[in-house]
Amino acid sequence: MSTSETAGSHDLALRHQFVDSEQQRDASSMGMWLFLVTEVMFFGGMFTAYLIYRHANPAAFMAGSLALSVQYGAFNTVVLIGSSLTMALGVRCAQLGQRKALVGWLIATILLGATFLGVKAVEYTEKWENHHVPGPTFNFDTTKEPSTKDHPEAQAPSKSVEMYFSLYFAMTGMHALHMIIGIGLMSVLAWLSWKGMFGRDYYAPIEYAGLYWHFVDLVWIYLFPLLYLIGRRHNF
């Protein structure tokens, strides 16, 4: 196996299968973008379900939207956009070889991500206490719920609202899972950055983790209006 380890180049960051570092950079960035394509299609399946069911059950989706807290959702949107900023600044520091600042921005990103998850946990807990989690305990009477009882357009069978919450938990749950993975990734990268693994010559892992983080932010940019906002005024 020794031939494959030494063949190629003196550049330690250059892997043996590549001819030069430009080829390696193009290949790895394309690999990352293709991975994000698969993520788009992965969430795309759930967005399709959302589209179809929302049109089948507009009143139930209005009721479900009204039961969510716009304050929590908007706060989390701000937090996540902030984390995208810290991430982008982190990548910038990596490009410039600023080790300590890079670690700082990564930690800031982690903290903002954790804040998002904390708020999400509070929201989930409230849903559980209000019996808004799908399953045998689910109960949502649109004529009695304080959020919907005064909205004639938001009257729907409990079962239909349960569909809304099934989608809500599936979509925000998969999003939260991606956040957790992202935070894990950032923690490892912060540690490796602290140890000086990355510099001006080699920062691709930071850049690609950044792409992943921004993608997760993108999903939320759509989830927030779709789940929290657009059903509030009309059941269209």
Partner: protein, 100 residues
């Protein structure tokens, strides 16, 4: 062969401006959700704002505006195209059922 390659480094000001634009977008979309637009316009407005925000993130935070390997632009466009294909082709059935 050149070792290491620095991609485009944006000034901090650009990132702050984009961040500010995203915050404005967030405020706008919340505000728009409190207004009664006719018909489906609430959804259209919200999705339009979200798409503007998403575009800013992709172009500036994700550096697509300065991307060095142009093939990646085809990759990104095909992701959007195939997502719309999934949404659109499934919708054909449901729209059709509404007419049957």
């Amino acid at each position: 062969m050149s070792s290491g390659h620095i991609g485009h480094v944006s000034p901090i000001r650009t990132y702050i401006l984009i961040w500010a634009a995203l915050m404005v977008g967030t405020i706008l979309t919340v505000a728009a959700s409190m207004v009664d637009f006719p018909g489906p316009m609430n959804a259209v407005v919200a999705l339009a704002i979200a798409t503007v925000k998403a575009t800013l993130v992709v172009l500036f935070f994700m550096h697509v505006k300065y991307i060095s390997y142009k093939v990646n632009i085809i990759v990104i466009v095909s992701a959007i195209f195939w997502l719309l294909l999934l949404l659109g082709m499934v919708s054909i059935d449901y729209v059709g059922r509404a007419f049957s």
